[in-house]
């Protein structure tokens, strides 16, 4: 009976021990699980903190980038404004150039037209030529008349000389006639001098008239040639400006 009790007590002790062991085991197991959970929680907390830190760093970085982008946008906006102003100025300058080019084209056209018109100055030179021919013809006519006058004067001189001879033959009766004949010879001699002087004046007139007219004529050709060069140049400028416009 005692044995039974002992056995029972032993069994009971074993049972209690087992129970105690079980409880201890469960307690230890829970403790270890709690410790593992705590460890996990700690690890997750650390990871979370690190993630938050990274996130914060990324946020800061993004904010920095955003600030930089804003600054860049501001700079680009300023640049755009400046470029717009420059483009406007360039457009105005281009318009001014177009206007100026149109004005130049008009002036080149006008210059070309004027130069072409002035070429008709040759008609004026032709008119001068005709007048000079008329003047020289008149001089030639005066030469002929003067030669005729000179011939008459020479004849009068001979007649007066003959009259003087006849008066001398007449003796005292011809004295008065001799005085008249002498006076006529004197007048004829003066006329001859005058005729010679007139002849010299006509020759002088011929040379100066011819030299002056030829200077005008040659000068006219010089001007006409120069105007032709100006006209050709103006035409070239006009052509280039028209090509540039189209």
């Amino acid at each position: 009976m005692v044995d039974q009790y002992v056995i029972a007590a032993a069994l009971a002790g074993v049972a209690w021990g087992a129970l105690a062991g079980l409880f201890v085991h469960r307690w230890w197991y829970r403790k270890r699980a709690a410790a593992q959970r705590q460890t996990t929680v700690d690890a997750q907390s650390t990871a979370l903190a690190q993630a938050e830190e990274r996130h914060a760093a990324e946020v800061r970085q993004h904010e920095q980038q955003a600030r930089e982008l804003h600054a860049l946008v501001d700079t680009l906006r300023d640049d755009l404004a400046q470029q717009s102003v420059s483009a406007e100025e360039a457009r105005e300058a281009l318009n001014a150039l177009h206007l100026q080019k149109d004005e130049w084209l008009q002036q080149a056209t006008r210059l070309s037209t004027e130069a072409g018109r002035l070429r008709h100055l040759s008609a004026t030179f032709e008119r001068w030529h005709e007048q000079m021919i008329s003047l020289m013809s008149q001089n030639h006519d005066m030469h002929a008349k003067n030669n005729e006058l000179s011939s008459i004067v020479r004849h009068v001189l001979i007649v007066s000389l003959n009259a003087s001879i006849e008066a001398a033959r007449a003796g005292a009766a011809g004295r008065g006639f001799s005085i008249v004949a002498s006076e006529v010879r004197s007048l004829a001699a003066r006329s001859q001098e005058l005729s010679k002087s007139y002849h010299d004046s006509l020759n002088r007139n011929d040379l100066i008239t011819t030299a002056t007219f030829q200077d005008i004529q040659a000068g006219g050709k010089m001007i006409a040639a120069s105007l032709a060069s100006v006209e050709a140049l103006a035409g070239q400028i006009q052509s280039r400006l028209e090509q540039a416009t189209t």
Binding site: H129, M136, H199, D200, N203, R204, D206, L207, I208, T210, A211, F213, Q214, D215, Q217, A218, G219, G220, K221, M222, I223, A224, A225, S226
Partner: protein, 179 residues
């Protein structure tokens, strides 16, 4: 107002032009001798042909003297008897003056030349009335019998100075284009 080297240049140009243009045939002899200054404004023959080259700075008169004699007629009217001797000499003078003009235009781009005109030799003394800065006369003998004269007269309104040398090769061939 006209420099000595310009006067020398004008003389060289005239000698070249006269030798190449005054003879009817390029093989005909052409002897040109300068006359002294006293004869520069005297008539060298009974008739003259006058031509003018004008520029901005000066005018140049070429006076060609000729006599209407048989020798001159025979020489210049060999082929065309229709025209007068004066017309023939005006044509020759025009060629000679054209050659001078062609040489001068190298130095003076603005030049013009007149048509020739015939006057009496008695007009020559009045060249001094134009107040020339250069006046020179030459006797021109062409062939055996033809005697011509030439007077160069330059009236300058501004200083004239240039140096011209005639291309001897062109002078020898006489193939210079005139116009």
């Amino acid at each position: 107002m006209i420099s000595q080297q310009a006067k020398d240049s004008i003389e060289r140009i005239f000698l070249y032009s006269a030798r190449t243009r005054l003879p009817v045939d390029s093989s005909d002899a052409c002897d040109i001798t300068a006359l002294d200054a006293q004869q520069a404004n005297t008539a060298l023959a009974s008739h003259i042909v006058v031509l003018t080259i004008s520029s901005i700075a000066f005018r140049f008169l070429l006076v060609l003297h000729f006599n209407d004699d048989q020798a001159t007629r025979d020489y210049y009217l060999r082929e065309s008897e229709e025209r007068s001797l004066a017309e023939a000499l005006m044509e020759v003078g025009n060629l000679c003056c054209g050659a001078i003009n062609q040489q001068l235009v190298e130095f003076f781009p603005d030049l013009g030349m007149s048509t020739p005109y015939q006057l009496s030799g008695a007009c020559v003394p009045y060249l001094t009335e134009l107040k020339p800065g250069y006046l020179a006369a030459f006797r021109v003998s062409i062939g055996a019998n033809v005697q011509l004269g030439a007077t160069l007269c330059i009236c300058a309104s501004s200083p004239v100075d240039f140096v011209a040398y005639v291309n001897e090769a062109e002078e020898s061939t006489g193939e210079l284009e005139l116009f």
